[in-house]
Amino acid sequence: MSEVPGELKYTKSHEWVRIEADGSVVVGITDHAQDQLGDMVYVEAPEAGTSFAAGDACAVVESVKAASDVYAPISGEVTEGNDALADSPELVNQDPFGDGWLMKLNPSDSSELDGLMDAEAYQAYLESEEH
């Protein structure tokens, strides 16, 4: 069973979003996503200063099995990409909700956050996907 922390927001494409006290957000891929993809061997995190609209491909996570796009859960400008992943892509497998984060973002429209799933809805979504 995949871990789904209660305090995060989620997308159908298996990204998570953590809202920080200052209104910025941290984005990564979920435990379910890393488990499906398998061992990460290459991660291309976005560079600071890049802007994305919600749904844009913003990062590439590549496992032994396949390369996958990561989509921006909401619109905004990247303030930091996780550079540690260049040398240690396995952090995404080991700690998907912690050290395996992909990018920090300044939202351009925080109302987009309301369109994301909460943990309960994402859990239900995972269960529905399995059937």
């Binding site: 398998g38 061992d39 061997v41 290459y42 032994v64 099995k65 390369a67 497998n93």
Partner: protein, 364 residues
């Protein structure tokens, strides 16, 4: 639901992630494909390869049939137990399958063919066997376990039946021993698909779970098909259906070494087509690639060379090298530097001669 090998319940119990492979529910990994890969390179691991097809040929004309059926020369097998790797070709020189044939007795040869090609292989072999009066037996009653890695021999030998242990201990690479030379018994071959030392054990289905459990109790880890693929790619071994197909000949697939042109009068199926191709000049070749930039090469990506475009036939991440490697079919005149188109970008790659890794050592 797909077909299950006799080890299915054990895979589930050991946490195997099961996927469909050629109609079989097989473990792709038991957690981490990369860890499993390293386990085989550094120590030992075991693979369920019971989905592969064991085909026994019986009859006095078995050798004569194989002279015609195989592009390699069965007469290289004179010592009992000796194994031969060969392609089985169609009349156009395309590869129907690649397989290993073991010589047991003049009236008994054993072939191990791929799971994905089982039906067409059996049809083809039976069609060719008819005029020779050779009986073709598909051995659905047998399972197969591969144990591979530098410590594979020690782990296997102590679990073999006493009557087979000494013979197995003395096997040279690419030889097999058959318990009592009976077709129903355990059959141990010093062969594999990883580039490491080890054994492949063919045994009755009912015996397979016990051997698997005993190996597991002795600390041998199960290895999934994911690591099997990266291990064989590092070892520079072709995968049927990816690196060669019925549309490509051994000359275009890095398998010229498996073609026995002598004696000239041996008229194997596909010979005429291969001779024509050789005379006309072979226009493409299968090579190894080592990616020099970041990213991972994947199957079917384009390869740009100074002599024209080629295509990746097997691309992956190499856990031993820590970068990406591939097999690719490129124009015969291409040089040593190429570019692979990965997700819209051209990344430089170096052309090398496989294997990439052998017995744990990086060779490129």
């Amino acid at each position: 639901m797909g077909r299950h090998t006799p080890l299915y319940d054990l895979h589930v119990r050991q946490g195997g992630k099961l996927v469909d492979f050629a109609g079989w529910d097989m473990p792709i990994n038991y957690g981490s494909q990369v860890d499993e890969h390293h386990q085989v390179r550094r120590d030992v691991g075991m693979f369920d390869v019971s989905h592969m097809t064991v085909v026994d040929l019986h009859g006095d004309n078995s050798r004569a049939l194989l002279r015609k059926l195989l592009a390699n020369n069965i007469d290289r097998l004179q010592a009992p137990g000796k194994a031969l790797y060969s392609c089985m070709l169609n009349e156009q020189g395309g590869v129907i399958d690649d397989l290993i044939t073991y010589y047991v007795r003049e009236d008994f040869f054993r072939m191990v063919v791929n799971a994905a090609t089982r039906d067409k292989d059996l049809d083809w072999i039976r069609q060719q066997a008819g005029p020779f009066g050779v009986e073709v037996r598909e051995r659905d009653d047998l399972a197969m376990i591969a144990v591979q890695g530098p410590n594979a021999r020690d782990q296997v030998l102590k679990l073999l039946p006493a009557t087979l242990r000494d013979a197995a201990a003395e096997l040279k690479p690419f030889f097999a021993a058959l318990n009592g030379m009976q077709e129903s018994g355990w059959f141990v071959a010093r062969t594999g698909y990883t580039g490491e030392d080890g054994f492949e054990i063919v045994l009755p289905e009912a015996d397979a779970p016990r051997l698997w459990q005993a190996l597991s109790d002795n600390g041998v880890s199960p290895i999934g098909l994911g690591a099997r693929d990266t291990l064989r790619l590092e070892a520079g071994m072709n995968l049927y259906g990816s690196d060669m197909t019925e549309e490509t000949t051994p000359l275009e697939s890095g398998l010229s070494w498996t073609l026995a042109w002598e004696p000239a009068e041996r008229d194997f199926i596909g010979r005429a087509a291969l001779e024509s191709q050789r005379e006309a000049g072979v226009t493409s070749k299968l090579v190894g690639l080592v990616l020099e930039g970041k990213g991972v090469i994947r199957n079917h990506q384009k390869v740009f060379t100074e002599a024209g475009e080629g295509e990746v036939t097997s691309g992956s991440y190499s856990p031993t090298i820590g970068g990406s490697i591939a097999l690719a079919r490129i124009p015969a005149a291409a040089g040593d530097s190429v570019e692979v188109e990965i997700r819209g970008k051209r990344i430089p790659a170096r052309v090398v001669k496989p294997p990439f890794v052998r017995h744990g050592e990086v060779r490129v």
